[in-house]
Amino acid sequence: MASLALKTVARLAQAGRTVRAISTTVPAASGHDDIMEKWPADKFDKHFIDYLSRPEIDGWEVRKALTELHDYDVIPDPKVVEAALRACRRVNDYALTLRFLEALKIKCGTQKNRETIYPYIIQQVKPVLDELGISTPEELGYDKPELFIPQPEYWWEKKWYADYGMDKKPNFQI
């Protein structure tokens, strides 16, 4: 994120564009363009870190913040990841930490990013993972599929009824 912002500034400087310091008109709709997509990286990160670091945060709010973070075209900064993991610890939701680490992989996008950026983030937040006792999905073997989840609208085999405990139904046959 930070490097992205730097690059943008450098590109602006190369193009010879100058930032106007004095505006002669009053911006009528100031903040019109001040959407979070265009925030500088440190402000964006601070927004989420501040929200996730509130001591009185509850589980609903943690998920709200993580869903919102998931909405942006952003791979979360390790600092944000740390804050999110600590927020999960505060609301005692272990499953949410695993889910969030998987969300990082989603946000990495391509397979190449997933192989480079995701391990980097994990390596950066390693102290926090150790401190809170969080296992990564890889350590639990969740980087490979563990279960097969059938989709009955596509294919369903009769013998799966027994596996799913549906043989207790009165009219069950086979």
């Binding site: 993580l66 499953a95 006792g133 639990l140």
Partner: protein, 182 residues
């Protein structure tokens, strides 16, 4: 749940129904979302605020837990309150499985249903082909003689004679002096 009159206020109250209301599309009373979610803890907003479980890449945190509270998970939830270093990997997995249906790798795994889909599509195409062959063989009448090549060639030769000098069609392509096609 609100009564039907409150959920679906009618602008004009019709006194007489000429059709049965049983066959008329979707109605809110056929939505069993709350009944399906009963027993599952409501933990978030999900994608639209409904208390349904969905695994979606764009809303990765579903609104409710996947499984109901039962005897397996209750002691684990107590244990989760204390230090997470005391949790074994199996317990961590159980905690995940009670909150979520499938992991990311399972979500992304190929399902193999393309085989069913391909089989259905090819079956339909094969059936359509055989049906067309059947129609041509047993149902449709013989094609009229104008479709035969001999007739078409004779027609071109007729045009060369009758329409000589025409600025369109076969005569423009024919060299009358050398008696061959240009």
């Amino acid at each position: 749940m609100l009564s039907r009159q409150l959920m679906l206020p009618r602008l004009a109250v019709r006194a007489i129904h000429t059709s049965s209301s049983l066959t008329s599309g979707h109605h809110i009373e056929h939505w069993w979302g709350p009944e399906k979610a009963v027993g599952r803890e409501l933990v978030g907003f999900g994608s639209n605020g409904d208390n349904i479980y969905q695994d979606r890449l764009d809303y990765w945190y579903p609104a409710i837990r996947f499984r109901k509270e039962d005897g397996v998970i209750s002691p684990l939830r107590q244990k989760e309150q204390s230090d997470w270093k005391k949790l074994t990997p199996e317990e961590k997995k159980i905690l995940y499985r009670y909150s979520f249906r499938q992991t990311l790798s399972e979500y992304e795994a190929p399902t193999g249903y393309w085989k069913v889909m391909t089989a259905v599509v090819l079956s339909v195409m094969a059936f359509a082909t055989y049906y067309a062959v059947f129609l041509n063989a047993y149902v449709y009448p013989e094609l009229p003689p104008t479709f035969q090549n001999e007739y078409k060639e004779a027609q071109v030769e007729r045009a060369l004679v009758l329409e000589k000098g025409n600025f369109l069609g076969a005569p423009t392509k024919y060299d009358y002096e050398n008696k061959k096609w240009k």
